[in-house]
Every structure is written in structure tokens, then in C-alpha cells.
């Protein structure tokens, strides 16, 4: 018989989805924020992103070569790491920095563990944490977002335009610190109260939503990140449970704990959602499949846990921002979460009491 029949185990048909398709979809979802970052920060955004991508891809290529495994650049996952790291950096870092951070993220955060699928922590955040620990001053030097005044790329090309400024979160941190330092019954200085009110004021919230504020290059526009998030939800690449619980926890707790003079205000909740990296982290990084739980209940716990850590760091910690660490810390808890949140199987029979004791 000339005809060779293929023999394989069922199922003989498969869903069209592939790993690289998922990764490329994530890249597509990052495009709105990427365009936004160039609009808001100009050439420096382009330099930073290109440099980070180059670092990520080169590191991926060399690592797979050294490990003697197939080159995985085409799957698009290293590209995600590059873009996400760039998004997590302030503008105007020296060019070698995004490159180095991305390379460290890929090599130490991902390839050391065996490549895609095996990394316990988000590689982009490993890169960021490495840079933050090594060059803290450069990593926290913020520049005024040029878009509102300059508005165009040409306006940004003049290096003389650069003005360092505080991000909304650093201002909030000062207020928060002052609040904690108050003796019982004491009052905050009027200037701080004014600052606070300006931060949670509607025009400022709109600035935060649109992205007309200082910060890391990819995190400032909540709106553009949300557009990407909707795309990921529609493509069923991320589970709504993670961002929903993460954002929900941050929103509720910042209303309850973030007010001054004992007042609760929804706008405080909105401020903490839209300021800093919460949107970027909650949509694109906390939801990274490789480093998040696989069980439905696990994803809820994971999201709430992440939100709690953000609140703790922002209100009581040493940093103005807690997003990066909230994700890294929750990444570490994933195996434990998965272990204790196994779905109840079909036809589950609860073990008898004696068996539980013996176990």
C-alpha cells in the first residue's frame, strides 16, 4: 500500500490558537499605548523603546543559541518584554539602560529558568527592579510631560525644554507621609490639603486618564492602556478576573484609607487607579499567563493580593509607587495559590472527617 496514513492520538482537530498568536495579540494590544508614549514624550520614547526591544531580542537570540534550543524570537514574547520594560522606564534614561534592563530581564528572568513558560517572575519587571536597585536616582528622575504645552513632536525635539517635575504619585506620597507624621488630633498644613484637592480634582483626573502627566513612558495614559485591555479581553487572552479584582481592591481601599481629614471620596479611588503603573500592570503584567495562577479562584485571590500590596506600599511603604513590587511579590505566590485553589472536580466527594485528620 503506497498510501501512508498518519496515526496520532485524538483529538484530530485543534483550535486555531497558538502560543505565538497569543503573544502577537499582546503586542498588538500594546500599540495604542506605544503610539501614546511617542505622542506624550516624543523622541526619547522612541529611543527607549527601540533600545529595550533591541536588548530583549538580542538577549533572547544569544541565550537560545547558547542553550542550543530553537530560536524563539519569532514567537513575539521577547518583544513584549522589551516593550513592557520600556513602558516602565522614565523618559530620558541613558540609552544603554533600557537595553541592559531588557537583556537582564530576558537572561536572568526568563532564560535562566528555561525560557518561555518556565519563568516564575515577569521578565520585564525583573529588568525594571534590577535597574531601580542599581541606578535609583536616574530611575526616579521625572520630566514634565510635554504634550499639553508643546503638543507636537517638533516642540519636543529641543532638549532645552526638559524640566524635571514630580509625578502625581510623588506628590501624593508627600501628603501621605505628612498625614502619618501628624500627632493625634493635629491638622495637615493648608498647602498639603490644597495639593491633595488639586490631585483628586476632576481636571487632574482627566489628565491622568488621558496621560497628560509625568511618569514612566508607557504608563501615563490609562485610556490607551484600557483600549489594549479591551482588545485582550475580546480575544480571550486575559481573564477579566485578574484586572477586575486588582483594580477593585485598589479602588475600594484607597477610598477607605486614602482620604484626608477622615473624608471618603470616590475621586481618591479614581486617582489611585489612573496614577502610576496600576493600569499598565493590571492589564498587561499581572495578567501575564506564565506568571499568574491557572485556577479561576486563584486568579481572584491573586488580583486582590496584588491590589493590597499596591495600597500598602503607596500608603505606608517607602516608595510612592507599589505596582512593580505588587506584581513581583504576587508572582512568587502563584504556585502556592494554585495548590490551594484547585477547582472542585465533577462528582467531587468530600473526604470523610477521619481521612482529613489522617492526611
Amino acid at each position: 500500500m503506497s498510501n501512508q496514513l498518519l496515526i496520532s492520538m485524538s483529538p484530530h482537530i485543534r483550535d486555531k490558537g497558538t502560543v505565538s498568536r497569543i503573544m502577537w495579540d499582546v503586542n498588538i494590544a500594546l500599540i495604542p499605548a506605544l503610539i501614546g508614549s511617542i505622542y506624550f514624550f516624543g523622541l526619547t520614547a522612541i529611543y527607549t523603546i527601540v533600545s529595550a526591544i533591541a536588548g530583549a531580542l538580542l538577549a533572547e537570540y544569544l541565550s537560545t543559541k547558547i542553550r542550543g534550543v530553537p530560536n524563539t524570537i519569532k514567537d513575539g514574547s521577547a518583544l513584549i518584554t522589551g516593550i513592557l520594560l520600556a513602558f516602565n522606564l522614565p523618559p530620558h534614561t541613558p540609552l544603554w539602560m533600557p537595553f541592559l534592563g531588557a537583556a537582564i530581564g530576558i537572561i536572568v528572568g526568563k532564560q535562566f529558568f528555561g525560557g518561555l513558560g518556565n519563568n516564575p517572575l515577569n521578565p520585564a519587571l525583573i529588568g525594571r527592579a534590577f535597574l531601580l536597585a542599581s541606578w535609583p536616582v536616574t530611575m526616579t528622575k521625572w520630566y514634565e510631560n510635554m504634550a499639553p504645552s508643546g503638543g507636537t513632536l517638533s516642540g519636543l525635539l529641543k532638549a532645552g525644554n526638559l524640566i524635571t517635575s514630580a509625578t502625581p504619585l510623588t506628590v501624593m506620597k508627600t501628603i501621605s507621609k505628612a498625614k502619618h507624621a501628624l500627632p493625634a488630633g493635629g491638622n495637615l498644613e493648608q498647602s498639603l490639603i490644597d495639593n491633595y484637592n488639586a490631585l483628586i480634582d476632576a481636571p487632574n483626573l482627566i489628565n491622568l486618564l488621558v496621560g497628560r502627566v509625568g511618569g514612566c513612558i508607557g504608563e501615563t495614559s490609562a485610556l490607551l492602556l484600557i483600549i489594549g485591555g479591551i482588545y485582550l479581553l475580546a480575544k480571550k487572552i486575559i481573564d477579566w478576573k485578574i484586572p477586575a479584582t486588582y483594580f477593585g481592591t485598589i479602588f475600594v481601599l484607597s477610598i477607605l484609607l486614602g482620604g484626608i481629614e477622615g473624608k471618603f471620596c470616590i475621586r481618591t479611588g479614581l486617582f489611585h487607579l489612573f496614577a502610576g503603573g496600576v493600569m499598565l500592570g493590571g492589564i498587561f503584567m499581572l495578567t501575564d499567563m506564565v506568571t499568574s495562577p491557572v485556577t479561576p479562584l486563584g486568579r481572584i485571590i491573586y488580583g486582590i493580593g496584588g491590589g493590597l500590596i499596591v495600597i500598602i506600599i503607596r500608603f505606608w511603604g517607602g516608595y510612592p509607587e507599589g505596582c512593580c513590587y505588587s506584581i513581583l511579590i504576587m508572582n512568587v505566590t502563584v504556585p502556592l495559590i494554585d495548590r490551594y485553589t484547585r477547582p472542585k472536580i465533577y462528582g467531587f466527594i468530600p473526604p470523610k472527617k477521619e481521612e482529613v485528620k489522617n492526611a
Partner: protein, 444 residues
């Protein structure tokens, strides 16, 4: 549509039923010879009771059952026993088989009287089902009389007739429901009498609205029989999922479906019960869907074929150029078995012959798991296939067992959805095989 009943989990593969759904059931011409397998059922193989050269009539017993979980076999044509031989089962194993050459048109064996559904004693009905060699015809081929003899401590209250046919491509059950509606309903009556039940559900997925309509129409005056339309989802035809969809009950882990008070029978099997009782015909033919991209449009059929007919001859009859077949599957694409040769024979479980083209016959290279959790989200048993497969790969049998590998129904949903194309069901099967072997060793 959300008010339709269904189960939790599952997937929606494209059903490809359009290829053959409009094809009326067609009688396949009497084959010149048949090869009847002794192992075409779940349980112990049958034992031949005929010798080479012996003349047999259509429907005459040619092999006896070798235990409770076993069945007799019957000649599907009138002719002469050529030899006792061996043949490949759809699983690829080798079974003893009886080859019969046809000498003339059907002369029916007269050992099975036609029985009256309502007046015949229950024991006689039950015996008839057993004597006629009936097995589950949805593919599991579990002897029917075993399912009809529930131990006394099970309280059965519902008979579920499975007209779901959730496997893509297959339309044999669908055509049967359209063309033999009344016989199926009478078959259900027989089963209800044997089981002493007053409640019967005929479950059909919503992608077969005409079958639902005609069943509803014909059962309108039948007491106790209810037709339920289910949301389209794979693997709804699996016993456990069907019970959950129809009754909201779950079969306890490790237990029999009877423990949920339900007995499930496929529509094909129900029709066979009707034939056995009312027409006095043992199970010697079945409906088989010939479909797939490698079959030309005019060759796609729902054929009524005799058990033991050569697959090669059927493919020829359906104008299939075997050089175009990349993969030949006995059954549907989700759980069917890839055949290594076309030199096989129709068995009681042959619900379809699916001929995938060379282009469709892909073999997927597995990539690393990215923990996307699609397998966890879709598993109809709510297992964690990605984790269990990892345990199996590392031979961590105890851990695999702790994560309920033995509850897996091998429906293939996890492999189907996996973007990394990991061989998850394969790992499940391998793991279960090794663990059962270890358990037997421990016992011994």
C-alpha cells in the same frame, strides 16, 4: 439561547456536519463477504461457535458470550463460514474474527420471535437484548444488558436517550432520529419497561432543530417521555456531562452513572433495541457516516452497513481515492481512533469513517506550556490537565493521582484548546495506564 440546558466547561469546535447532514440513510449493498470481530465490545471477547464450511443465515449466532460483560455475535449475511481468522480492531490491536462468504441474499435466522413491547415479560425482553448482542453504539461499545441490570442498591429514576452526537462531522444519529423517530421512541419504551421507569429524557443538541421538532411531535402523546434541547457544546454526549446537562446531577467521582440515578443509552442503541425486540433482528447492521474532505461530495453518506463489511470496499463505494486520505479515523475527530490501515472492518462501534485530507492530517509539534489555563477553564471534569501532564512527564504518579487523573474522561477538550499543542490527553491516558498497572501490582 441561554435558557438551554448544558454542563459546565467544554468547547465549541466547528461541527462540519453540513458535509453529510442532508444525506438520507442509504442501504449499503450486501457485501460479498464479512469479517466479524470477536473483540468489538468493551469486556471479554466472544467465542466462535461455528466451524469453517458451516452454512449460516443472516442473524444466526456465530459466537457466544464469555461472561456477563461480553456479548454473542451474529452473522450479518447469509453464506458460508470461510475461516476463523484474525483482524485489526479499530484500536489497532488484533482480534480473533470469523470470515463469512455470502452465497445468497438474506435468509433470516428464525430463532428470534417478534415480541410485543407491552405484553412480553420484562425478563424475556432483557434476555432478548442480551441474546441479540447489543452494545452502546455511540462508540463506547459497552454491553447493553449490563447497563440494564443495575444492582439493587442503585435507585434509578431517569432514562436518558442520548441524541446529542456532539462529535463534529458525525450525522448518523441525527439521520436516524429523523428517519426512524417512532422506532426510537418505541425502543425507549422497551428500555423504560425493562428498567421499570416512568421518566425518560430524549436529549438533543440545539444544532438539530428538525430532529428536536419531530421528536417533540411524535412524543407529544407519550407519557413520561420528554424531549430536551441542549446548548451546543462538546463533550455533551459524554455520559457524565449529559447527566449534568439534563438533570443537574453529578456522577460521584469514581462511581457509575447509575449512582446519579440515570441510565444513558445512545439513540442508535435504542433503535437496535427496538429492532431486537419488535423485529426479532440481532445487531447485525448500523448507521455509519462516511465523511471528510477526502470524500467527494457525492460520496459523503450516512450508510446502513452490515457489521463486518470491509472498510476498503465502503471507501471504494463512496468514490474515495485512498491516496487523498491523510488520516482515516474510526469515529469522530475528537475521540475517534486514527487507523493504520484501510484493511479493517465495520464494528458495532463504527459511528463514522472520517477521511481527513492530507492537508488536514496535521501532526502538531508541542511547545512549552505557557500556563494560559485554557485546559483548566474548559475541562468538563474541572481538572488541571496542564499540571497533571507535567506530573506524568516526570513520572510523578502519586501527584497525578492526587490531582484526580483517574477522573479524566479522555474527551480531548484540553488538547483541543491548548495553544501550545501539548499532548495533554495522551499524557492523561499514559498516566492512567501506568497508575492502574501500579495499582494492580500493589494488589497482587
Amino acid at each position: 439561547m441561554s435558557d438551554l440546558k448544558t454542563f459546565k466547561g467544554g468547547v465549541h469546535p466547528h461541527d462540519y456536519k453540513e458535509l453529510s447532514r442532508e444525506k438520507r440513510i442509504e442501504d449499503y449493498p450486501l457485501p460479498s463477504s464479512v469479517v466479524i470481530l470477536m473483540s468489538q465490545q468493551l469486556g471479554s471477547p466472544s467465542k466462535p461457535i461455528v466451524k469453517a464450511g458451516q452454512e449460516v443465515k443472516t442473524g444466526e449466532p456465530i459466537a457466544e458470550s464469555t461472561g456477563f460483560v461480553s456479548i454473542p455475535q451474529h452473522s450479518s449475511i447469509t453464506g458460508k463460514v470461510k475461516k476463523i481468522t484474525e483482524a485489526f480492531t479499530p484500536l489497532g490491536t488484533i482480534s480473533q474474527a470469523i470470515e463469512i462468504e455470502r452465497t445468497q441474499d438474506d435468509i433470516w435466522f428464525d430463532g428470534f420471535q417478534q415480541l410485543d413491547i407491552e405484553k412480553t415479560e420484562i425478563d424475556v425482553l432483557k434476555k432478548r437484548v442480551q441474546e441479540c448482542g447489543l452494545v452502546g453504539m455511540g462508540g463506547a461499545t459497552f454491553p447493553m444488558h449490563v447497563k440494564l441490570s443495575p444492582p439493587k442498591d442503585f435507585k434509578i429514576d431517569t432514562l436518558i436517550i442520548n441524541g446529542v452526537e456532539c462529535e463534529p462531522y458525525l450525522t448518523a444519529d441525527y439521520r436516524l432520529m429523523l428517519e426512524k423517530t417512532e422506532s426510537i421512541i418505541k425502543g425507549a419504551r422497551i428500555l423504560m419497561r425493562i428498567l421499570d421507569l416512568t421518566k425518560c429524557i430524549i436529549a438533543i443538541e440545539n444544532n438539530k432543530p428538525d430532529a428536536i421538532a419531530i421528536m417533540k411531535e411524535k412524543t407529544a402523546s407519550s407519557q413520561g417521555i420528554e424531549v430536551i434541547a441542549l446548548k451546543v457544546k462538546y463533550p455533551q454526549g459524554a455520559e457524565k456531562q449529559l447527566i449534568e446537562a439534563c438533570t443537574d446531577r453529578q456522577v460521584p467521582s469514581g462511581g457509575l452513572p447509575m449512582a446519579a440515578g440515570c441510565i444513558v443509552q445512545n439513540v442508535g442503541t435504542t433503535y437496535a433495541a427496538y429492532q431486537a425486540v419488535v423485529e426479532g433482528k440481532p445487531l447485525i447492521e448500523r448507521i455509519c457516516t462516511i465523511t471528510g474532505a477526502a470524500v467527494p461530495e457525492n460520496g459523503r453518506k450516512n450508510l446502513n452497513v452490515r457489521i463486518g463489511t470491509s472498510v476498503k470496499e465502503i471507501l471504494d463505494y463512496c468514490k474515495v481515492d485512498t491516496n487523498n486520505i491523510g488520516k482515516l479515523i474510526s469515529g469522530g475527530p475528537m475521540m475517534g481512533l486514527a487507523q493504520k490501515t484501510i484493511d479493517t472492518y465495520i464494528t458495532k462501534g463504527s459511528s463514522g469513517l472520517l477521511c481527513l485530507s492530507r492537508k488536514e492530517a496535521e501532526s502538531w509539534e508541542p511547545e512549552p506550556c505557557i500556563r494560559c489555563a485554557r485546559c483548566v477553564d474548559h475541562c468538563p471534569i474541572h481538572l488541571m490537565p496542564c499540571l497533571i501532564a507535567a506530573f506524568v512527564e516526570k513520572k510523578m504518579w502519586e501527584e497525578a493521582q492526587k490531582y484526580n487523573i483517574l477522573d479524566c474522561i479522555k474527551c480531548g477538550t484540553c488538547s483541543y484548546v491548548c495553544p501550545a499543542k501539548r499532548r495533554l490527553v495522551q499524557a492523561m491516558k499514559l498516566g492512567e495506564f501506568e497508575i492502574r498497572a501500579l495499582m494492580r501490582k500493589k494488589k497482587a
